[in-house]
């Protein structure tokens, strides 16, 4: 009967496709050994040069040395906090601001290392807009992702500069590309990472005016991004944290010493991102990871305390969090 022939044909087609895709679905790297402990590391969003140390630790076998088999996951933007808090991933990437927010809500995240010593993000705009300082924000449109922190940051900077915050328009552009939104006139300025979007602009031949957040106000020279875990893992499995961070630190140190090689590692692990951008970005960022600090990952109490104070003063958190519980240098110090 024709009906069965058709069903059989379809069935075979489906089985072939499933076999092909399931084999492609399987975990990326083959199991290197039976004794390796499986660990999930969740990024903040798409892989970029903020994460090079982790990819380097994987490629150079540092994780394996510590007995760990680390899977690096790309989640939806902004979900890494809840994923690490719940334990679905043991470690992840986050930012000092969101760790502070989370802890204020009772979510037990702990920052284990500052990936980059100083804040390498800031407000950027196309050169012809002539936005050279926060004073020039007056009469302009800001495009962001809709967090009240953005408004408060802009407001603070403007007031420090004696400008009128009510004269700036805040728009939510979400995931919209900074370049697309700027070029189309949708926004005048946005908040970017100097080491990524800033470099991309240079490569596109776009001239930008960049206002370095950390240099404008010391309170904004906070840690972004950071590596996080949750309190339960710290309490119950300190050995795992020790092992993971030892390898991660080695990975970032490798990236600091060998920017070109590290860039190649990232490109190989994540061929979907722009190789040229990675190479240029890595040159810049490798010098920023540790900067002038004594060791990579070092976090100062004042940085945590100052920003917490600022967040409380501006009504973002009801009470100041206990910063001594929010971070630790235990696993990165010499």
């Amino acid at each position: 009967m024709k009906y069965f022939k058709m069903t059989r044909f379809l069935l075979i087609l489906i089985i072939i496709t499933l076999t092909l895709s399931l084999s492609a679905c399987g975990t990326g790297a083959p199991d290197k050994g039976r004794d390796l402990q499986k660990v999930t590391f969740v990024l903040d969003w798409t892989p970029n040069t903020n994460h090079t140390g982790i990819y380097a630790a994987k490629a150079q076998g540092f994780f394996e040395e510590q007995g760990l088999d680390v899977e690096i996951i790309q989640p939806s933007e902004g979900t890494s906090d809840s994923i690490v808090a719940s334990g679905s991933a043991q470690f992840g990437i986050s930012y000092q601001e969101s760790v502070t927010f989370a802890r204020a809500e009772g979510i037990p995240l702990v920052s284990l290392a500052a990936v980059i010593q100083h804040n390498t993000s800031g407000f950027a705009s196309l050169k012809d807009k002539n936005i050279l300082s926060p004073k020039d924000f007056e009469g302009k449109i800001y495009g962001g992702w809709g967090s009240p922190i953005e408004e408060a940051t802009i407001k603070y900077l403007m007031e420090q500069a004696g400008a009128d915050f009510s004269k700036v328009k805040i728009a939510t552009t979400g995931d919209a590309d900074f370049f697309q939104a700027s070029a189309s006139g949708q926004i005048d300025f946005g908040w970017i990472f100097e080491g990524w979007d800033g470099i991309a602009a240079k490569q596109k031949g776009m001239e930008l005016n960049y206002i370095d957040l950390g240099k404008e106000a010391t309170v904004f020279d906070y840690y972004t991004p950071v590596i996080i875990t949750n309190e339960t893992i710290l309490a119950q499995n300190e050995e795992l944290v020790k092992a993971f961070m030892a390898a991660a630190k080695k990975g970032y140190e490798f990236a600091i010493e060998n920017p070109e090689e590290a860039a190649e590692i990232l490109i190989k692990a994540v061929p979907e991102i722009d190789g040229e951008l990675v190479k240029e970005s890595q040159k810049f960022l490798s010098q920023q990871y540790q900067a002038e600090a004594e060791y990579w990952g070092y976090q100062k109490e004042e940085v945590w305390q100052d920003y917490t104070n600022w967040m409380a003063e501006n009504g973002f958190i009801k009470e100041k969090i206990d910063v001594s519980k929010a971070y630790t240098n235990k696993f990165v110090e010499k």
Binding site: Y3, M6, L18, S21, V270, D274
Partner: protein, 258 residues
């Protein structure tokens, strides 16, 4: 048998039909897009030309294929399970009015939950393997199948039922022999809708958290400003969705010709 709508061709021979009208319109749009890109001053990172997109597709074909296989696997498994779930619930809802009253509103509610809220929840509940992805595809696909099939079953000719029961069939036998075949055209509509959505469902499901897939590739191309690659990825999604749709249509036409 009722004939369901098809692509509008009068020729009923063969399983694969080629309709010149939509293809010509698409072709003209693409030509217009290319010309606009060539003569306008739109930067390529905002709107690449079709030629650039095809180039990007070709240059990255190996990488694109590996991501495509992952997404297709997620979509097919989810779609397959959604078909089973949709047909089963359709039969139950078609046969038992009480089940229909109980389940229908619940099913509608499942469609109103924004998936963007579900993604972190699914990551927490189900981790990052195949399961959360398949669940999201099922969520997206089962509804049109269940709804259209149920509708087809309810609207079947009651006189046929009566006739069969007069001839000695039980209510269930009448249902199986008469109602289900009459509902098949509606079921196929549901299958076509679900198939079209299955690929996009799989793409969205990867935003739960993954390492590979067209959704992952898409966001990575986006954040490194590789707009041509982004478009190539989207083109792949479109082609896959169309392909699945056509596959169901082929299957439907085969059944109609039987």
């Amino acid at each position: 048998m009722r004939k369901s709508g098809s692509t509008g061709q009068k020729n009923n021979k063969g399983y694969i039909k080629f309709d010149w009208l939509p293809v010509s319109i698409i072709f003209l749009l693409v030509v217009f897009w290319q010309v606009f890109g060539d003569i306008g001053n739109m930067p390529s990172y905002i709107l690449p030309t079709p030629v650039m997109v095809i180039e990007a597709l070709y240059q990255n074909r190996v990488l694109l294929l590996s991501h495509t296989l992952v997404t297709t696997g997620e979509a097919l498994i989810g779609f397959g399970l959604a078909v089973l779930l949709g047909i089963a619930s359709g039969i139950l809802m078609g046969y038992y009015q009480r089940v229909r009253r109980a389940l229908y509103p619940l099913f509608v509610i499942t469609q109103t939950i924004p998936i963007i809220v579900l993604t972190p929840l699914f990551a927490i509940w189900f981790g990052f393997g195949l399961l959360p992805k398949v669940l999201i595809v099922i969520l997206v696909c089962f509804f049109p199948i269940a709804v259209t099939f149920t509708q087809g079953l309810i609207e079947a000719d009651e006189n046929m039922d009566a006739l069969l029961q007069v001839m000695g069939a039980s209510r269930w036998q009448a249902f199986f022999i008469a109602r289900i075949p009459q509902a098949l055209p509606d079921l196929f509509s549901g299958l076509k809708i679900a198939a079209t959505y299955s690929i996009m469902g799989a793409v969205i499901s990867e935003w739960v958290g993954a390492q590979k897939g067209l959704g992952i590739y898409m966001t990575r191309a986006m954040t490194s400003f590789k707009t041509s690659v982004l478009f190539a990825d989207v083109l792949m999604i479109v082609l896959l969705s169309l392909g699945l749709y056509k596959l169901i249509e082929m299957f439907e036409r085969h059944w109609q010709l039987k």
